[in-house]
């Protein structure tokens, strides 16, 4: 009886891995139920906190206002410089006949939960947007600080995001100054990231920023991901051991941006976690 049950389970499991139908059922029922339960409570909490901050707790408001004004002035200076650079890029593009990259639109979303349930072994967050609102599978998720991860599962109104600190996360990056490519892999919660497949003679510096390379259209090019904190050279490996700190603060995420692709950039092919790990094993 037990053997029969086990065989039935493995049959269902294998069939689901091939077709994904049961996963879709679970996403459209379980994930949506969870989202429907959490969203109203989060809304009430946000309203209460907003009322408290705006009408009762005014002590820190003036100080915060002064800080924000100073930050705004700095941001405006940086924007002016960036506008000059942008104009130059446009001129150079037209001179060299280089086509502009396709557009990416930004959609805001709220985080409604972190790692929910007993099967939440992967580093993840739940968002209050689903595929009907632009949060499709593999949609990049960022904050103003940097990349957060990618949408892994999407229901109609709720979605789950795999964070970049998860060991199953892979992001193609390039160093900002030296343009050295690599793959950033997570090592677990509150841990550093590892940049893999960096050749021993590739130029790289501690403190250098890692940005998305834009390869395969998975992420827009140039999004900040992490900052290099250490580089080690090994006698027995073909690659440098590069460790980096993620730029986005993943502990207190409340709002994120979903980056939707509006152009003709080729979509990243469906790669299961199995395939990514197989590639890893072959390269090593």
């Amino acid at each position: 009886m037990l053997v029969l049950a086990l065989c039935l389970y493995l049959t269902l499991f294998t069939w689901n891995l091939r077709t994904g139908y049961v996963d879709k059922l679970a996403t459209h029922t379980g994930l949506e139920f969870t989202g429907a339960v959490l969203k109203p409570g989060k809304w009430v909490r946000d309203q209460v906190v907003e009322f408290w901050d705006h009408y009762i707790d005014l002590v820190s408001v003036r100080k915060r206002n002064d800080e924000l004004e100073a930050q705004l002035k700095e941001a405006m200076f940086s924007l002016a410089e960036a506008n000059e650079d942008k104009a130059e890029v446009l001129r150079l593009r037209s001179l060299l006949s280089v086509s502009a990259p396709a557009g990416w639109e930004r959609i805001g979303a709220r985080v409604i939960a972190h790692r929910l349930g007993v099967q939440a072994e992967l580093e993840s967050i739940l968002l209050d947007k689903g595929y009907l609102k632009g949060s499709g599978v593999r949609t990049p998720v960022v904050t103003h600080e940097g990349v957060v991860g990618r949408v892994f599962r999407a229901g109609p109104y709720t979605s789950s995001v795999l964070l970049l600190t998860d060991p199953n996360s892979r992001i193609a990056v390039v160093s900002q100054d030296n343009r050295t490519p690599g793959i950033v892999v997570g090592l677990g919660p509150r841990s550093q990231l590892e940049m893999r497949y960096v050749a021993l003679n590739a130029p790289l510096g501690v403190g250098e920023l890692l940005v998305t390379s834009g390869q395969a259209g998975a992420f827009p090019k140039g999004l900040p991901v992490a900052r290099i904190v250490s580089i080690e050279y090994s006698d027995i490996s073909l690659f440098q051991k590069v460790m980096a700190e993620p730029l986005a603060n993943l502990d207190n995420l409340e709002e994120v941006l979903l980056i939707g692709n509006t152009g003709d950039v080729e979509a990243f092919d469906q790669q299961s976690l199995d395939t990514q790990q197989e590639d890893d094993a072959q390269k090593q």
Binding site: Y9, T29, R115, G117, V118, E121
Partner: protein, 162 residues
């Protein structure tokens, strides 16, 4: 605890409220299953149809909220049912000691299921997290069961009185 059961509508409301509270509790304490104690109470009531429906609902919630492929949630609840029905032949099903032993076994089972999925689905799952979640489940499930059991007893007493 076995006796006359509440009406379908009343059961629906009760278990819906329980599921909502369970989801909120899982939001507050990630990695712990706050829905399993309800399933245990349902098995103790001896209501098979209710148990099957609850198992289905809770499996879909757990599988939907997680990122792994479908499978670990089903294994988790199937293991709970198997351990309960096997243990019932040796222990008194409504005894807290039985629930403590069952929860400890489920905590260990959580680690086993995680390691199994690690190989079956070829995903990287951190062992320290599996172990810490397993320990949390072993400790918290009996406490939640105690509260749910008392509430359920009161509910069934009200139904019998009515």
């Amino acid at each position: 605890m076995q006796g006359s059961q509440p009406s379908l509508f009343r059961s629906l409301i009760w278990w819906t409220v329980y599921s909502v509270c369970g989801v909120w509790a899982m939001y507050l304490v990630p990695g712990v299953d706050f829905l399993l104690p309800g399933l245990l109470c349902s098995m103790q009531e001896g209501n098979k149809a209710q148990t099957i429906w609850l198992m289905l609902l809770f499996t879909l919630i757990q599988e939907g909220a997680g990122l792994l492929a479908f499978g670990p949630g089903l294994l988790w609840y199937a293991m709970a049912c198997l351990l309960f029905y096997l243990g019932r032949s040796l222990f008194e099903a409504e005894n807290i000691v039985f629930i403590l032993i069952l929860s400890a076994a489920m905590g260990a089972g959580h680690v086993v299921i995680g390691i199994t999925m690690r190989h079956l689905q070829d995903v990287a799952i951190l062992l320290p997290r599996l172990v810490s979640d397993g320990c949390l489940n072993a400790v918290i499930i009996p406490l939640v069961w105690f509260v749910v059991f008392r509430l359920r007893e009161r509910e069934l007493r009200n139904v019998n009185a009515a």
